[in-house]
Amino acid sequence: MSPRSLFEKIWHAHEVVPETADTPAVLYIDLHLIHEVTTPQAFAGLDARGLRVRRPARTLGTLDHSTPTAPSRSLAGIPVRDSQAAAQVAALERNARAHGIELLDLGDPRRGIVHVIGPELGRTQPGMTIVCGDSHTSTHGAFGTLAFGIGTTEVGHVLATQCLLQRKPRSLAVTVNGRLGNGVAAKDLVLAMIGRLGVDGGAGQVIEYRGEAIGALSMEERMTICNMSIEAGARAGMIAPDETTYAYLEGRRGAPAGEAWTRAVARWRGLASDTGAAFHGEVTLDTATVEPMISYGTNPGMVVPVGGSIPERGDAAFLQALAYMGFGPGEPMAGKRVDMVFVGSCTNSRLSDLRAAAEVLRHRKVARGVRMLVVPGSQQVKRDAEQEGLHEIFTAAGAEWRESGCSMCIGMNGDIAAPGQYVVSTSNRNFEGRQGQGVRTLLAAPATAAAAAITGRVTDPRELTA
């Protein structure tokens, strides 16, 4: 057999019916993650046709997008922001109950952002196909899964048939050579990569990240990389499983145990791309050029090093983006005013992200006039952080320590900034209005966000930690 890539192996193993010139493949889905925002219309469609969920045990629900993050002793008791959002939460509770789907409800200690809890509970496993009505489903690719976002109609297809009709995407190998420098985060690497590929450079393709720098990353860092694949327009991003992957998964509730674990690892070892596997495209990045990064515009491809300057360009789209941001060509990014700081989202809300932010904030104060929100990715991350005392560092610095959820990444739950304000955010999108109408988002790594909170200005975190 000719050498095959990680992606081709997973794709082939899930073809119920292979694609032909006339028809797409029928692709089997191992795990379907669902949340409150993109599912109500899909369940309504099933109900209208009298259909049942085909495999409830392959479906896992959580509440994250529109749920409150205000600190609380009993999360189940907090009112959801408005009656419409509350109705959406109630709809998922009702639908999950009616179809026998496990739902991590508001009061559940395992609840959290959908792309944080899947891996945390050991439900995300190498070799799987995973989908969710959310574009950041690419996160799960960090475990050597084929994971991608789908629309609500497709959510209905998976609920009813556990399958999707899909054309096979093309493949792109992104090789990252070298090691990340001190004070340079996985987030900086992926922002630099999107800057290089552009926001549509990955369109129609599944990216496999590989090379020395990728192999050296922790699982949480790999999730940050795969998470933002969609910001380069890619269908999915993935990394071959290795010892780091197995060490993360072993002993987790949803992972196989005993002999089943041994068999699973043996199977997973065969997933890596074969030597000589062909890709439709190949890109090489060198870590030597990656520094702490920050975005200056209105898409995640508009990034420069924190110590760098906004490019000098004159085309209309570029100038329009800068006008929204209140910036001009050629201006240095360091020293730009900051009104709010958000540490959280499925990109950067895991324990290592919170540690990175806390390390910069320890024994320091958030600048006067700056509001900082720290929103853990799950209730488990929250407990783990509190166990280490990270929450005390955040609150002593004057930051707000919140309950888990998507929060300011999408701003659906009322966590937003005021028009015209600048937010340094560890999330994934700096689109116009993403964090509130007229709000200007600057994407960065957790350490850079924490540094901005302390100085009230865009700051290279290495200046504070050296």
Binding site: T161, Q162, M412, G433, Q437
Partner: protein, 193 residues
């Protein structure tokens, strides 16, 4: 069974910006509903309306010539960002039946095709010409896969063959999948350890 689509003939509305993301098409604050309908009023909300909720007269969709237009012409990488199908629902609910661009984001294209909204992909020179000629009438012939221009010429556009067949005949994708239940069951049985 949905309504078959064959021809869309309409004046064009032009939005030349590239990388129009789904947060612009339908901002997240409108996503808390459990319905599929009624998103048209929120289409491009923050570009169409000012902070006081008044229409911005300079925005393309607010110009008198745009009223009743069924074809939107937009810059490259249209529909990037979030997977929200609400973007396709909002465009459809507003009255659009096709979007013409030189490229589309993957998830948006898939969502559009599932909602009778045709993503018509053309080369950059054709897109540039359309962008420079707002208000002209064009014809999209799905059967022939042709975009007909005002001078009588036409260009062929690519479209996934199954999606085209489905739209031409009003076939529902879920019905097609359900008809493969036997194969799905056999697949599930074959994978049991």
């Amino acid at each position: 069974m949905s309504t078959p689509i064959r021809i869309v003939r309409s004046r064009i509305v032009v939005l030349p910006a590239r990388d129009v993301d789904t947060d612009q098409i339908i901002p997240a604050r409108f996503l808390t509903t459990t319905e599929r309908d009624g998103f048209g009023g929120a289409l491009f909300a923050d570009w169409r309306f000012d902070a006081a909720g008044q229409p911005r007269p300079e925005f393309a969709l607010n110009r008198p010539a745009a009223q009743g237009a069924q074809i939107l012409v937009a810059g490259p990488n249209f529909g990037c960002g979030s997977s929200r199908e609400h973007a396709a629902w909002a465009l459809r609910d507003f009255g659009f039946r096709a979007v013409v661009s030189s490229s589309f984001a993957d998830i948006f294209r898939s969502n559009a095709l599932k909602n009778g909204l045709l993503p018509v992909q053309v080369d950059a020179p054709i897109l540039d010409w359309l962008n420079a000629n707002p208000g002209v009438e064009v014809t999209i012939d799905l059967e022939a896969r042709e975009l007909g221009l005002p001078d009588g010429s036409s260009v062929v556009f690519p479209i996934e063959p199954f999606a085209r067949y489905r739209l031409l005949h009003g076939i529902d994708e879920l019905d097609f999948l359900l008809a493969r239940s036997g194969a799905i069951e056999a697949f599930e049985r074959s994978r049991v350890e």
